[in-house]
Symmetry: C2
Subunit: 324 residues, 2 copies
DNA sequence: TCAAAAGTGTTATCCTTACACCCATGT
DNA sequence: ACATGGGTGTAAGGATAACACTTTTGA
C-alpha cells in the first residue's frame, strides 16, 4: 500500500545554490532596451543577478534588491519568467555546482540612468538582430540563409530535409512569421552554431562570424525567453503601459509596441484599437511637435484594473512592409 | 565605475533545498482528475514531489523520475509551471529551511492505474468546487455569499467596500466569469479564511466549514495555478489532445474541454471549430453507441506540429446555461 | 507652399454566434 | 414511434483590415 521510497518522505538536504536573475526592459527613443551588467572587463555582458539569500522574504524581494544593488535601477512591474536548471546549461563545463536560476521579467518606465555603475542599457536587437523586422526582413533573411546552409550540410539527406523543414517552421517563410517564438529561434540558432555561446559551450568553430553579440552564461537564452513572453503578453494584458512615461502620444505608444513586437504596425487601426479599448484617456496639453502637427497627450487609465479582468493592447494589422 | 558588491561575483553557497513538484492531470469519464499521493494516513493528500538531486540531468527528468517512483504513472506532456519560494508559503512555521519548489504541469492520456501505490486520482473540483460551472452556478454563488460576508465584516466601511469590489471583480458578477483566474480566486478564498489551509497556516478559525477539501502544504495553490494555466493554454495550443486517447469522438473531446474549462460549450459550434481547425481527422470505425446514433471516431493529426506554429482548440461560445 | 505627422470616415470581408433542422441507432 | 445523441446548413451581427481623405504644425 505504500511504494514511496523512504527518501521521499523527509527530503534530504540536497544543497543547491540558487540565483535570481532579471531581464530588465525599458523603451527609450523608440528602441527596446535591456539592462546589463559588466562583471569583468572585456567579457560579454551579464544580466543582473545574485544568489537567493535566506533573508529574502520572497523571491521577488530578493530579485529587486539585487538589481537595485547592481544597477541602481528601481524596478516597476515584475513577473516570474522561468527557472533554468539543466546541468548542461552552460555546456559541458566541469562545474559541479548545479546552477539553478529563477529568472524574472521586469519592466521600467525610465530607461535612463546608468552612469554610476558598471551597468548599461543595450538595444536588445543587438543580441537578436533577426527578431527586428521594423526596417525590413534583411537581417532575418540573412539568418535564414545561414541556417539553411547548416541544415543542408552533414548528415543524411533525410536529416537534412528535416532540419530544413524545421528552419522553415521556426523562422517562417514569407509572411508566416510568429513574433512570439523568440526562444525557439534562438535555440535553433544555437544548435546550428550560429551564436557565439554555442562555440564557447562546445568548443566547435561557428560557421563564420556570428551575426550578433553574445552574453555571459545562458543569459541570451533568458533574454530570448523574456522577449517572447513580453510579445505575447502585451496582446492580452496592459503591460505595455508599464514601459511608458505617465503621459505619451499615441505615436509614442505605437513606437513602443513596434519596438517590442519587432514589426511595424498599421497606424490608423492601431490608434482606433487603442482608443476604443478604453485603456487610455486624454491628458491636458499637447506634445511638442517634432516635425508635424502636435499630438494629443494621452495617459493610461489606472482604473482599468478595477473594471475589467484582463485587457490588452490590441495591436492590429501589420503595416505593409516597405520594399525590403 | 563598479558598485557591484563583492559577494555578487562568485555566489556564496547559500544552501537551499529544492523540490520538484508535479500537478499531473488526466480526464476520465468526462471528469478532470489530479494525481495525489497520501504521505501520511489521515493527512490531506499531497502532489507527487521530491527533492532535486545533483544526478538529475535536467529538472524535467528529475520530476519524471519522482512521479514515476511515487505513483507508477508515466507522464506524457510536461511543462514548467512556476517556482514557489516565499518564506511564508506554509504560514509562519518556524521551519528554517527555505522550501523552494519548482512546480510542473503534466498531462496524461490514461488516467487509470493507481492501485499499487498510495497514490490516487481525484476530481479536481473536489478541491475547488466553485470552479465548476457545468451543472450551474450554485457552488460559485454559495462561495460568493461567504466571501461577501467576509468582505463586509471588520475594518472600516471604506475597506469593506474595497473588499466587496475585489470579490466582485475576481469571482465575477453575472456572466462576467473569467475561467482562467483560478489562482486569484483561490488566493482570495485563502485570504478570507474560507479554505482549510488558511486556518492551518495562521491558527485562526475559518468562517464556518470550508466548502472544499484541503491539500498538504500549499499544494492546493499549486493546483489552482495549474488549472488556470491549462485553461488558458487549451485555447491556443493543441494540448487538449494530450489528455485524449488515440481515438475519440467529438463529443468526448467536447466533454474533456468542458471538464477543463469548467463550463458547458455550444455543441454545434464546438464541432465546427474543431473540424475546421485541421487538428483532427477521421479515423476508421465508429464509436459504440451509448444511447443514440453512433459517432465517428476521430484522431489527432500529429503532423500539425510540423505545419502550423501554434494552433489551439477554439472553444467557441458557451452553451446557454440551463436554469440554475 | 510643401513636407511631415496627426487624426477621421467608410467599406469590404471574415469570423463568430445563434438558430433551425435532418440523420442514425436502441428500446 | 420516439427518445437520444450525432451531424449539417445558413443567416445576422460584429470585429478587423484596408483604403481614402482632412487637419495642423514647422521649415
Amino acid at each position: 500500500m505504500n511504494d514511496i521510497p523512504p527518501e521521499a518522505a523527509p527530503p534530504p538536504a540536497s544543497a543547491i545554490s540558487v540565483d535570481l536573475c532579471a531581464v530588465v526592459i525599458g523603451v527609450e527613443a523608440g528602441s527596446p532596451r535591456v539592462l546589463t551588467v559588466q562583471r569583468q572587463p572585456h567579457e560579454p555582458p551579464s544580466l543582473p543577478a545574485g544568489p537567493l539569500h535566506p533573508e529574502h522574504r520572497t523571491l521577488e524581494r530578493g530579485l529587486r534588491s539585487w538589481v537595485e544593488q547592481q544597477t541602481r535601477q528601481p524596478l516597476g512591474y515584475v513577473e516570474q519568467l522561468y527557472t533554468f536548471g539543466d546541468l548542461d546549461r552552460f555546456g559541458q563545463s566541469g562545474d559541479a555546482r548545479r546552477p539553478l536560476s529563477v529568472a524574472y521579467l521586469a519592466l521600467v518606465r525610465d530607461a535612463q540612468p546608468p552612469g554610476v555603475t558598471a551597468s548599461a542599457w543595450h538595444d536588445w536587437y543587438d543580441y537578436l538582430p533577426w527578431e527586428d523586422q521594423r526596417a525590413g526582413r534583411g537581417a532575418l533573411e540573412r539568418m535564414i540563409v545561414r541556417l539553411q546552409a547548416w541544415a543542408g550540410a552533414g548528415g543524411s539527406a533525410q536529416e537534412a530535409r528535416q532540419r530544413r523543414e524545421r528552419v522553415r517552421m521556426t523562422f517562417g517563410d514569407g509572411a508566416d512569421w510568429d513574433n512570439e517564438r523568440v526562444l525557439e529561434r534562438y535555440e535553433l540558432a544555437y544548435e546550428a552554431g550560429l551564436v557565439a555561446e554555442a562555440l564557447r559551450d562546445r568548443g566547435a568553430p561557428p560557421d563564420g562570424l556570428p551575426p550578433s553579440f553574445g552574453m555571459a552564461l545562458d543569459h541570451r537564452r533568458i533574454l530570448a525567453t523574456a522577449i517572447g513572453r513580453l510579445r505575447a503578453k502585451i496582446k492580452y494584458r496592459p503591460v505595455l503601459f508599464e514601459l511608458m512615461p505617465p503621459e505619451f502620444t499615441l505615436s509614442e505608444l505605437q513606437r513602443a509596441a513596434e519596438s517590442i513586437s519587432g514589426t511595424l504596425l498599421h497606424k490608423q487601426n492601431f490608434r482606433r484599437l487603442v482608443e476604443s479599448s478604453g485603456l487610455v484617456e486624454e491628458a491636458p496639453g499637447m506634445a511638442k511637435a517634432t516635425g508635424g502637427r502636435p499630438a494629443r497627450l494621452m495617459r493610461f487609465r489606472p482604473e482599468v484594473g478595477l473594471e475589467r479582468p484582463a485587457p490588452g493592447v490590441r495591436i492590429g494589422p501589420l503595416r505593409r512592409p516597405a520594399a525590403s
